[in-house]
Symmetry: C2
Subunit: 334 residues, 2 copies
């Protein structure tokens, strides 16, 4: 997969902003790629970019229509199919991150075949991966890990890439989930590959590179999450990070999706992630912590971040509230 840019963002008939969160993320991190939005009747979401028809978008140079909206069950409703076919007929590729594949909708598959356009289902692996080689390779790598799922690993990774690039460092974001893939224009949904190939997909995503180049790898799951820990460990062992950044949500008490299971302490999470990463990269180190403090007012958040930094002896930031500069300082010192 390598998505052609720029994008027309399809928001469909999203009932609220939350349903369009994939599209919102892409617009936030890649505003230059998102030329316009296509909204259907009844759409309650707004990406804050120009409304366009398919014809407008083609005229503006859009190469791919990105389905940036989730709906119940991940299906592709009938009232989207006509617009998707129209985009294909107008010369655009189409990319989606739904459970249901674009290519499994006959009208869409036929239109793509007829017009030679590419359909990308970012939730489904588009290539076969090898079993991981387990071999060391050149280049430097950063991986975000989490106390839990949905604690800001993608956001933190992108903020780190942006800060590193702003400082003139040689860095690339490496995407492992659907929104990240739209933002990077490429990537591997490591949670969607066959289990034997998790680490192999992560190796493919982070190939040998220049000695001063940093891959900033979007983490998935958590070593402490009963449902997804296998994905996380395969990603750690395949991407072989030199630096780990621990992400956390200060308001989270129970692991998301497994009621009654408490969130681990930051100390435990740092120790276990370092232990697993050091199996193959002996110097792997958690260089900082990125906390979602949106549940707190500013004074309380600043006190929490300062107290946690003091306790752990590490930079502790909120990627939204404070930015990630102290973490990139620590990366520069490695």
């Amino acid at each position: 997969m390598a998505l052609a840019t720029p994008y027309l963002m399809f928001v469909g008939d999203a009932p609220d902003q939350l349903a369009a969160k994939v599209a919102i993320g892409v617009v936030h991190w890649r505003p230059d790629w998102c030329v316009g939005q296509l909204r259907l009747a009844g759409c309650k979401a707004d990406l804050g970019i120009p409304d366009m028809t398919i014809a407008d978008a083609v005229k503006a140079g859009c190469k791919t229509m990105v389905i940036g909206v989730a709906n119940r069950g991940g299906v592709i409703p009938d009232n989207w199919v006509g617009v998707i076919v129209e985009a294909i007929e107008a010369g655009m590729d189409v990319a989606a991150g739904l459970h249901r594949r674009l290519r499994d909708v006959p009208a869409i598959a036929e239109a793509a075949a007829r017009h030679g356009r590419t359909l990308t289902d970012a939730r489904h692996p588009s290539r076969d991966f090898d079993v991981a080689s387990g071999q060391a390779r050149a280049g430097r790598r950063i991986l975000t890990v989490g106390t839990d799922v949905s604690v800001g690993k993608m956001f933190t990774s992108l903020a780190i890439e942006r800060e590193m690039t702003a400082r003139g460092m040689n860095a690339d974001f490496r995407a492992t989930g659907q929104t990240g893939i739209f933002i990077a224009g490429d990537g591997a949904s490591v949670d969607a590959v066959v289990a034997d190939f998790i680490a192999g997909a992560a190796e493919w995503l982070t190939p040998a590179n220049d000695p001063d180049h940093w891959d900033v790898v979007e983490g998935q799951g958590s070593l402490f999450h009963a449902s997804y820990s296998g994905v996380t460990l395969g990603l750690i062992h395949g991407s072989r990070p030199h630096a780990l950044v621990l992400c956390h949500d200060a308001a989270r008490r129970e692991m998301r999706g497994t009621p009654g299971v408490p969130v681990p302490t930051l100390e435990d999470c740092i120790a276990v992630n370092e232990r697993m990463a050091r199996m193959f990269e002996p110097d792997a180190t958690v260089v900082g912590v990125s906390v979602n403090t949106s549940s707190m007012d500013d004074a309380r958040a600043q006190a929490y971040l300062a107290e946690t930094a003091g306790r752990l002896g590490l930079p502790v930031v909120d990627a939204v509230r404070t930015g990630v500069a102290p973490i990139v300082d620590a990366i520069e010192k490695l």
Copy 2:
């Protein structure tokens, strides 16, 4: 999947005994289920059970023909297809553990559909699994783990089940790989499911049970294997073992498939497996070590086992040479 027994073991034109190792394993552990073998011209393997034609096997009550032979690339050669179709036409189901699926060979798929027979591809998931719930459940569970892959986890699990059953304990072997699935008659190839569902497949395999019932779960991979550690961790977190048995090959120096990577120490392997298992089952304990000492003469092996047991303070056995009674003693004491 739930295979109908007894079996006719298909060995094809295996060039040597090693090529028939799946069939040999099934005959070893389930002799009563293996009524006969079907060998083609040129077959150099012998399971030591009666040779039978398809007609003989049907007369003897065989319900499933098991393809117990591996060949280069895991394909289904043309000279097997005729025999497989003949077995289906004679009323048998067919089970295989090849990379190529039985159902992807048109002649086989058509015969099965026409005669209403079941095709089982043990390497491929035959059902959809849920995401793991991460919830505690009744019943007790043992999982074999390893310093590396291919160190005797299936053999040790089956030896433990046999010893427990012989003592009147309530135990069932739970299979996670193709040979194990033929031996158990059911199971889940956890390394073949989509990564998000590894732990979910392991939960399905080890449902709530009587308080005195033991699932003896066949382990896969190793937490220390760069290629497969994700499968192993998902299996640990999904099966939630109370007891772990560490398997090891005394002759192994490098991790199989990742040249240059040393095998971990038993001490490290015990510590890391216990740490990961205790996230959800706080009393999880490595209760013994099962070592393949086939590279040593008997005196050296006995000395090695005794020295290792003294160093670790745990029962250390060779499941082939000494049996697993000391490990089952430890399980009984839990």
